[in-house]
Symmetry: C2
Subunit: 356 residues, 2 copies
DNA sequence: TCGGCGTACTGTATCGATCCAGAAGCCCCT
DNA sequence: AGGGGCTTCTGGATCGATACAGTACGCCGA
């Protein structure tokens, strides 16, 4: 407001347009005039064309909005999310874009929708969103390019997508422990977004779970278990309050101290699974001997901990998400399903009947 | 461009201002008219006032820009930075602000300056910046509120700041190993921004280091060493190519395999120090017995690894940085120095002369 | 000499909202 | 009856830039 294009134009004695061109289209004016303009701008402390005004006129901002389920501050606590962001930011960087991280209140759907409506961005990347019709509607209403990392059921078939076959991947985990001979199985996951309480719950059907990703993984576990002739109702499910190591340990405590301790625990994320390993260690139980544990994600710490897990690409997934938005031509295929893989480490081992 | 305030105004038969008020100042119109406007907007698929246009007129954006030295994608690889961001985003959330992460090319100073000039933000938070006059000048030229997490030498005394006394904290680390009786000391740090090569280097004086944080920490190490009567030139310094676990291990390899293996290694970040521990393990050397290692930061993994380190607040530091920008009244004191603390774990132990 | 063309610059319309002074209508009080 | 005050809505100015059509001018070839 103190010094604008016009100020410089007046000082140099040219039109506003010419000053604008000096910054944005150097080929439209002579080198001398341009130099004189830039020199004057420097002298007057003009920081260059205002980004907001420029965005308004040009119709593009140069930023992509990233949406997380949980409040923004939780995003950074999940190593997988951090890896994903890293890939996304690499892609953004390449196209001179910035990343706008949006704080979406987990409790207040309307506040979240407002944050979406107020975001100055050219595109959205949905990392993970619960089944919130209002937020989704707000995103759609913006009419901006969109890439999703999950397929909620109402998803239009032509929205860009990059992800994995969650159910098939989870099934690998289930099949693995069954192949090892385990029959008493427990499942640990962050099941609900509203109920922040760690306790065993009865899941009639995975369909009841509000998060797409968790729901699909449970379906995969269920498939594997049923294929082995085990009733789903015999599988103990424990809700973890948060996707954190501590919650993982607390959830494990719910099943480890019971008389009927499970032989294998399927955990829906590595960060929770590391907590499960902590709980084992605290009780002197040996992972892979006394209890088998399988995680999900293959975050860096999983290797160190010897955690058997399902590997899914993290950085690459982020990078592809960014490319789908910023350079659509690079990916004619708009729905990309990345490969997953069972990584067997020491936290799983064969069942010795009677050994525990 | 398809549907704007005017579109709705025409459809309802009111003025543009009234539609604007329906969104931004509900108390300025009757409930019926407001409802009719919102209803029509819904029907026509109007996503609400355009954030960019609104920002231009209002003169505020609702986002704060975060600046990292390294390219944006590296920020996520440093656990301390991640923690810091977490605190910052908590503060941002509370004030309905978003975080704009700016990709600052590490190689191209001019590109970095441009990114700064183009950022649509209300304020900047400098997490860490090398001594780059152009970037700094670009930030100053924007004339926006600013908070720094480091004090470069040219720093104006009245810029907001939140950090620690780097040198004093590092000195604690040095004094600790000296107190334990160690005399042969090595230092590992990411010393240069341009030279990405892991190798021993001669540091005449810490003054030559381009990064403020690293420079100050070296000064602290130097103070401790000299106070014990050891010549600075007897301390082996190794440059780590990146701030990564792998680089830490590689740097450690440079000194561990020599005949004159150091008794203690002072490492300028925990992530590097964890790599040093990896290198020890690979050689069958026991941390705290054969070689003592001290890190810096106290990231979550440090506790698990038994790493002796200097603890500095991470989340709190981010939160304060955000508060200094968004709610200046909350902190009349504009320069905040947070406490640091030596956390002794098992990676350091007394020197047994002749034991190695 | 004149048309044609390229370069350098100007001026106005425009992006999509918010701000603010003011008008219209209504109620109430003296 | 007249005036003050309140609520509700309007219209034009404005935020700070960019797009684009248009003007001025120099140069070249026929």
């Amino acid at each position: 407001m103190v010094v604008t294009l016009q100020t410089i134009a007046d000082a140099v004695g040219v039109s506003r347009s010419t000053v604008s061109n000096a910054y944005s289209r150097p080929d439209q004016l002579s080198a001398e005039v341009r130099e004189k303009i830039l020199e004057t701008a420097r002298r007057l402390g003009y920081p260059g064309p205002d980004p907001v005004a420029r965005s308004l006129r040009r119709g593009r901002v140069g930023a992509i909005g990233v949406l997380f389920t949980s409040a923004l501050s939780y995003a950074f606590t999940d190593p997988y999310a951090v890896q994903f962001l890293r890939g996304l930011s690499e892609a953004a960087e390449q196209h001179d874009n910035a990343l706008l991280l949006l704080p979406l209140s987990a409790e207040d759907d309307e506040a979240a929708a407002n944050a979406i409506r107020n975001a100055a961005v050219d595109a959205f990347c949905i990392y993970c969103l619960p089944d919130w019709p209002r937020s989704l509607a707000a995103i759609r209403a913006r009419g901006l390019p969109l890439v999703r990392c999950e397929l909620s059921d109402d998803n239009e078939p032509n929205t860009a997508y990059v992800g994995i076959d969650e159910a098939a991947a989870a099934r690998l985990a289930g099949e693995h422990v069954i192949r090892l001979g385990h029959r008493r199985i427990a499942v640990i996951a962050e099941l609900f977004e509203t109920e922040r309480q760690t306790r065993p719950v009865v899941i009639e059907s995975p369909d009841d779970i509000p998060y797409y990703v968790t729901r699909e993984r449970l379906r995969g576990y269920q498939d594997a278990v049923r294929a082995a002739g085990i009733a789903w109702s015999d599988v103990i499910a424990v809700n973890a309050a948060h996707n954190s190591r501590e919650s993982g340990a607390a959830a494990a405590a719910c099943v480890l101290d019971s008389a009927q301790r499970p032989m294998a625990i399927l955990v829906a994320s590595d960060i929770l699974a590391l907590g499960v390993l902590d709980a084992l260690a605290a009780r002197g139980l040996r992972p892979g001997r006394d209890v088998s544990v399988v995680g999900f994600d293959d975050i860096p710490d999983a290797a160190t901990a010897g955690l058997t897990t399902i590997r899914q690409p993290a950085i690459e997934r982020g990078r592809i998400a960014g490319t789908l938005l910023l350079d659509p031509a690079a990916h004619p295929e708009r729905r990309i399903v990345l490969p997953t893989e069972l990584v067997v480490r020491t936290s799983t081992g064969p069942s010795f009947i009677g050994s525990n």
